[in-house]
Amino acid sequence: MIRDITIGQYYPADSILHRLDPRVKLSGTLIYIVCLFLVKNLWGYLIAALCLGAIIRLSKVPFGFIVRGLKTIIILLLFTVAFNLFLTSGTPIFEWKFIRITKEGVSLAFSMAVRLILLILGSSLMTFTTTPNQLTDGMESLLGPLKKLHVPVHEIAMMMSIALRFIPILLEETDKIMKAQQARGADFETGGIIKRAKAMVPILVPLFISAFRRAGDLAMAMEARCYRGGEGRTKMKPLKYHKPDGIAWVAIVCFIALTVVSRRF
């Protein structure tokens, strides 16, 4: 079902990871992603996977719930694997008519797939453990220095948080509209690609209308509370580093070191 799309959602639980400062989680995720691209061999992936596994355990978010997020990128994943598998040149290990699989292709397809999976799992873990509010607070604070260059950091952060907040709402709305049209005999499951595309109209039109209505309502509600952008705005709960955050930073540095070392094997 449409509710299986879990990317960008928050998963409430009481864990060390949930309590961590969002700045640590944001920078940690970014570093993790960069490291994934620095990885050269199996050892590196093993380290990344083990670290991720440990963090998932710490987060208390059920593994099945995280994996479900992968369903949405399965097509992308298959394409990546297929492209790399069949279109990489090198020493052939398998040949049949026009299909040719090379040794380089296999290793490239494998590493791309692993990289993509680890990337999605890692970044969705961040949104699972961080509320949209914390996420934007963290981002605003990390990007703070850019304000000197007149980058509208607060506004960007606010836009992001609203977008994140709207994802589950719109999913729920889609679910409801789909059911309502199904109750009127609409059929989304059978037929060719054109018929299916046409069947989307009764979902998309009401969805857009409701998204605009919600956006209008939200803007009105924000204005009614005198929202006028980031200028001079203070926080009710300013971000503060605590002891676990320091420990997390040490762990992140260790991870970087391990990844760099793994490149030498």
């Binding site: 998963y11 059920p62 719930f65 109750a183 009127r184 005999g185």
Partner: protein
């Protein structure tokens, strides 16, 4: 013997932090031609329950029979069921999408694969039943007032000629006049077409006036099921689960407590009047 719900159980998002046991062991028989009210406060499982009746949601336990056939059987055609059990969602006006009122109402019958003439006939007929005049037929649905939009949306389901019509809080967010109009029209449709009607509401007052049977939902369970009089006799218990019996029930009990021996089972103002007059005549003799 139209719809039978047998030990129905439903859990939303099982195995996650959002897990919610929305329906617990529901056993109900909905007979042909009945006019039923389903009542319960917000979150008691009313919407979830009715979505089982046309197969939009598959129960996590138990089963649903429609005219004797198990709707979860492999070869059962759920699409047919959905046309026989017409479901009008809450705020149905949010599902309008066509450029004109007429086209939107035609959507359902068209999906049934009916010939164009029949589609037109049914659409006009349905619009007439909900009191949308010819002048609005070619208007854009988005230009109409809230009450009109809702009636167009109801017509969209009626046009499929369902055997059972289920409406989820059809009066939510309407003014008293719009509310009475819609409820009167629904009552009329029930009377003239002799179809089963199920009305979901959280207002006792709305329901008491129209239905022959009330099902009370609380925390996913069907706690009371019976004629309005029987159900309202439990008005003290109803209060505890956040519902109120119609005001006349309280008035009649208050009269009785004050020493006036009226019957207390009146559910509408008219019945209350009759009961008081009956006592008064008796007294004068």
């Amino acid at each position: 013997m139209a719809i039978i719900l047998d030990k129905l159980d439903y859990v939303y998002s099982p195995g996650t932090a959002y897990e919610k046991h929305a329906l617990k062991n529901i056993n109900l028989v909905i007979n042909d031609g009945e006019f039923i009210g389903i009542i319960g406060h917000t979150g008691s499982g009313k919407s979830t329950l009715i979505q089982h009746m046309n197969g939009l949601v598959k129960a996590t336990g138990g089963t649903v029979y429609y005219n004797g056939a198990d709707i979860y059987d492999e070869d059962y055609k759920l699409k047919d069921l959905r046309t026989k059990v017409g479901l009008v969602f809450q705020y149905p006006e949010h599902q309008l999408f066509e450029t004109t009122v007429l086209k939107d109402v035609q959507f359902g019958p068209k999906n049934l694969g009916l010939p164009p003439l029949e589609v037109d006939l049914r659409a006009y007929d349905a619009l007439k039943q909900v009191g949308i005049g010819d002048d609005l037929i070619d208007a854009s649905p988005f230009e109409l007032s809230g009450g009109q939009k809702r009636r167009v949306a109801i017509a969209g389901v009626l046009a499929m000629k369902p055997e059972v019509l289920i409406l989820d809080e059809p009066t939510a967010g309407l003014d008293p006049k719009g509310r009475d109009e819609i409820l009167d029209q629904i009552a009329k449709i029930h009377k003239e077409q002799k179809i089963t009607v199920i009305l979901v509401s959280h207002s006792m007052e709305d329901v008491a006036k129209y239905v022959d049977r009330i099902i009370v939902m609380n925390h996913g369970e069907a706690v009371y099921d019976g004629a309005p009089k029987e159900v309202f006799a439990h008005y003290k218990e109803l209060e505890q689960i956040g519902l109120a019996a119609p005001q006349v029930t309280y008035a009649m009990h208050a009269l009785r407590d004050a020493g006036i021996p009226v019957t207390t089972d009146a559910t509408t103002v008219e019945e209350a009047r009759d009961a008081i007059l009956a006592w008064y005549r008796e007294e004068k003799k």
